[in-house]
């Protein structure tokens, strides 16, 4: 019976744990701190890509606290929660953290398209804005319907359009695309499916053939897909992958002899962890950058001085020049600047999500301000408004030369003549389905 007793004791202990869950713990919060929840992933299948991003965000907040003493005297209190890129886990994290601090979290950056979709339903009720920088619903850029979503610095449709413009330029104009074959290899999830609508539209306009090819999560098994590509011999392959799927695709491309310089990845497929495992096979591979790139910038001097020289940085110093780390930095910076903007209206104190939403919607970052912030060379000037929650639609193409990313194109801007009607139609359909009210953007501000 000893085992039985042990089991009973174990069960009692677990049950006691449940009771502990039920009794909510109350914590005293410093009253003059802005609370920020971070949904990140340092574990799970996508951790190699999640970790540098999480480090970038954490370091930027730490820098603001260390260098400036917070935003106009309001210190940032940042707490992470690990979602492992799973939607239900991400929602649990969000619910756990959203009401902490004196005012609740200022905004949330879900860092996953699936979690963004789930939180989009919760944001209007909780009044917490979502900054989904470069991901999430493409139509959420329409602020008249998606009041709480901010896909800043470009959506998937913008990214796909920028890649198509680059390809058209290489071929000598969009009219030269007629009869070409373009294949999209995508992660079979809402994330991967997002660009299909735009690419189908472009295919109709210019008469090229477009074939989407799904790859199931997590994407380590792609032999069949690439065999098909070898048979079809497409002119270009677009890659919408994440994590281990990217390096697998590049390796498979090398195996079937598809030229890597005719492969274009989205920004989720354009970081160091994506190309390094493919070693020499990745040379010549391209990816779209939405604003960010690799390298050291002026802001790194401050990072070194205030954090890394004191041993307070969360990454290794060599990693701070990597694509995803810099993307994390930008995400942190946009959040901080939004709070700063909101403070001009609501005062220098911790702000609620609703107040910060106003700050993001009225965010404007000029070239001079970008320089001041130390992000010169990374970012284009941007301006968010009620009807445009994207801020800017400019992007470049970068190429992996075997050891580092180099920018190989000038700035492109996605074509609003194509995208805007699609955004409006999709947003309208969403609003009708959900019976949502539509804001009149001409009356705002």
């Amino acid at each position: 019976m000893r085992l039985g007793k042990a089991a009973l004791l174990g069960a009692v202990a677990v049950a006691a744990g449940f009771v502990a869950t039920a009794s909510t713990t109350t914590t005293a919060w410093a009253q003059n701190e802005q609370y920020l929840a971070g949904l990140i992933y340092r574990t799970g299948a996508y951790a190699p890509n999640g970790i540098p991003f999480a480090n970038g965000i954490a370091d930027y907040y730490a820098l603001i606290n260390a260098r400036d003493g917070g935003i106009n005297g309001v210190k940032l209190n940042y707490e992470e929660c690990d979602t492992a890129y799973a939607t239900d886990r991400g929602v649990e994290c969000y619910e756990r953290l959203k009401n902490k601090g004196p005012t609740g979290t200022a905004y949330v950056a879900p860092l996953s398209t699936g979690i963004t979709f789930a939180l989009t339903e919760k944001a209007p009720i909780d009044k917490i804005p979502i900054i989904s920088m470069g991901y999430g619903r493409s139509e959420s850029r329409d602020g008249s319907v998606f009041q709480w979503n901010f896909p800043l610095l470009g959506t998937y449709w913008s990214a796909a359009d920028i890649i198509m413009q680059h390809i058209a330029k290489k071929e000598g104009g969009f009219d030269k695309l007629k009869g070409k074959k373009i294949v999209l290899v995508y992660h079979d999830s809402p994330y991967g499916k997002e660009p299909i609508a735009l690419l189908e539209e472009r295919a109709k306009m210019h008469g090229f053939s477009f074939t989407p090819m799904p790859v199931t999560h997590p994407g380590v098994e792609q032999k069949a897909t690439w065999l098909q590509i070898r048979q079809n011999r497409p002119d270009y392959v677009l890659l919408w992958g994440w994590g281990v799927m990217n390096s697998t695709s590049i390796k498979e491309a090398a195996a079937v002899g598809f030229p890597r310089d005719k492969m274009y990845g989205v920004w989720w497929s354009g970081a160091e962890p994506d190309v390094r495992p493919a070693e020499g096979g990745a040379k010549g591979y391209n990816a779209a950058m939405l604003q960010h790139g690799a390298g050291q910038f002026a802001v790194h001097n401050d990072l070194k001085k205030y954090l890394y020289d004191k041993g307070l940085g969360s990454a290794k110093w060599d990693e701070t020049g990597e694509v995803l780390y810099i993307r994390g930095l930008i995400n942190g910076m946009l959040g901080v600047e939004s709070i700063r903007k909101a403070q001009t209206k609501f005062g220098n104190k911790p702000l609620t999500g609703e107040q910060v939403r106003w700050g993001i919607e009225n965010l404007e970052i000029s070239a001079a301000r970008i320089k001041e912030l130390g992000f010169e060379g990374v970012l284009q000037p941007m301006k968010v408004s009620c009807s445009d929650h994207e801020g800017t639609r400019a992007g470049r193409i970068q190429q992996w030369d075997g050891t580092k990313w180099t920018v190989i194109s000038e700035w492109y801007e996605s074509d609003d003549k194509v995208i805007k009607p699609m955004v409006e139609a999709a947003a309208k359909k969403y609003a009708e389905e959900k019976k949502l009210p539509i804001r009149d953007c001409s009356k705002e501000n």
Binding site: A6, A11, G17, T21, D82, T87, R96, T120, K193, K434
Partner: protein, 355 residues
């Protein structure tokens, strides 16, 4: 001392055939249900509702459904996630395309009925194939249904990304939008469904399932028709699972993609049933509680104890401790948590004077 049935005489068949023949059991269960309806709303926070109670209740219902099939009828199924998806998408399409029926009870029951129909279809092979082979056949149904909802655009109303969302929901004109309303609605649904399930499994239908489970040839010889019995188990099981899927989609997620009902969901539910106890409704609830709550508790434990740890370390520790706990419970009690509960009751009977 407290838990002893001595002196409780059953003087009629009705008294003997009650669900809980022992007074203490009856009082305890009624008290728990009443507490869930009346006491919980007095103190519960939003987090407790949306992240703990609602997921626990919905997945308990799905586990009850799976337990009918696996635990009572002995047909191993790995297609649970797919059947949940059928319920969810059937309910979504009814809600979307027939706006006049904005009543969650109708919508959910429709999801359940559609799921039952699909369950019967995929249950037909169970007549010829058994055990592991049936598990593989149901695995095929999981992949087929995953494929169906990812590829047939009509089912997801042609959304570009394949992710669908529901808006306003109501029951007989009562709008369900706050967490406490959702909780009460789910609770009511689960209590009624569990009562139905309990009466099914202790009646002649349940006995025919168990006969098939214990030895199908013997059951056939004494007069149970295997086809009808197995298919009825598939139907009832998928019905509950379909309702759970619809509730998971509408009341837990709000917006979802086929990935929410992938193979991992099937495994998760199968583990709930195995750890909770095969062939026990109580086990379904205990298993669901274990699988859902333990990781959340483990994840937050360092915070409560005031230990500073990086979230990555917490994440890895959570996996390790959770895995160790599963192994521990399966070694010390292979028949599941429900069996532990029974052992506890046995001990309580003798307490404080065990021989």
């Amino acid at each position: 001392m407290l838990y002893r049935e001595a002196g409780q005489f059953k003087t009629s068949y009705d008294a003997d055939q009650q669900i809980f023949p022992i007074v203490q059991d009856r009082v305890f269960v009624i008290a728990v249900v009443l507490a869930a309806f009346l006491v919980v709303p007095l103190f519960a926070s939003q987090y407790l509702y949306t992240e703990i109670l609602i997921p626990f209740l919905i997945l308990s219902l799905a586990a009850v459904g799976l337990n009918i099939l696996v635990g009572y009828c002995g047909q191993v199924s790995l297609g649970t996630g797919g059947f949940m998806a059928v319920g969810a998408y059937a309910a979504y399409n009814l809600w979307l395309r027939v706006p006049e029926v904005n009543n969650l009870v109708v919508v959910f029951l429709f999801g359940g009925v559609m799921s039952a129909a699909v369950g019967i279809l995929f249950g037909i092979p169970s007549l010829r194939i058994k055990g592991f082979y049936l598990a593989v056949a149901t695995l095929a149904s999981q992949f087929f249904l995953d494929w169906l909802f990812a590829r047939v655009k009509w089912l997801t109303n042609y959304t570009p990304s394949g992710s669908v969302a529901v808006g306003e929901t109501s029951v007989f004109g009562w709008k369900i939008d706050t967490p406490v309303e959702r909780y009460l609605f789910v609770l009511a649904f689960v209590v009624v469904a569990t009562l139905v399930a309990k009466n099914l499994v202790r009646g002649h239908i349940g006995r025919s399932w168990m006969a098939i489970r214990d030895m199908d040839i013997a059951a056939e010889i004494i007069g149970f028709r295997p086809l009808r019995t197995k298919l009825s188990a598939f139907a009832v099981s998928s019905f509950f699972i379909g309702i759970a899927g619809a509730m998971w989609a509408f009341l837990r997620l709000g917006a979802w993609e086929p990935l929410a009902f992938d193979i991992n969901r099937s495994f998760q539910l199968l583990f709930m049933v195995i750890i909770g106890g095969l062939g026990s409704l109580l086990g379904s609830f205990l298993g669901a509680a274990f699988i859902i709550l333990v990781p959340i508790v483990l994840n937050q434990l360092p915070g409560w104890l005031g230990i500073k740890m990086s979230v990555a370390l917490i994440g890895h520790l959570e996996f390790m401790v959770f895995g160790a706990m599963i192994v521990f419970f399966l070694i010390v009690e292979p028949h599941g948590l429900a069996r532990l509960w029974a052992v506890a009751k046995e001990k309580l009977r003798l307490w404080p004077f065990p021989h």
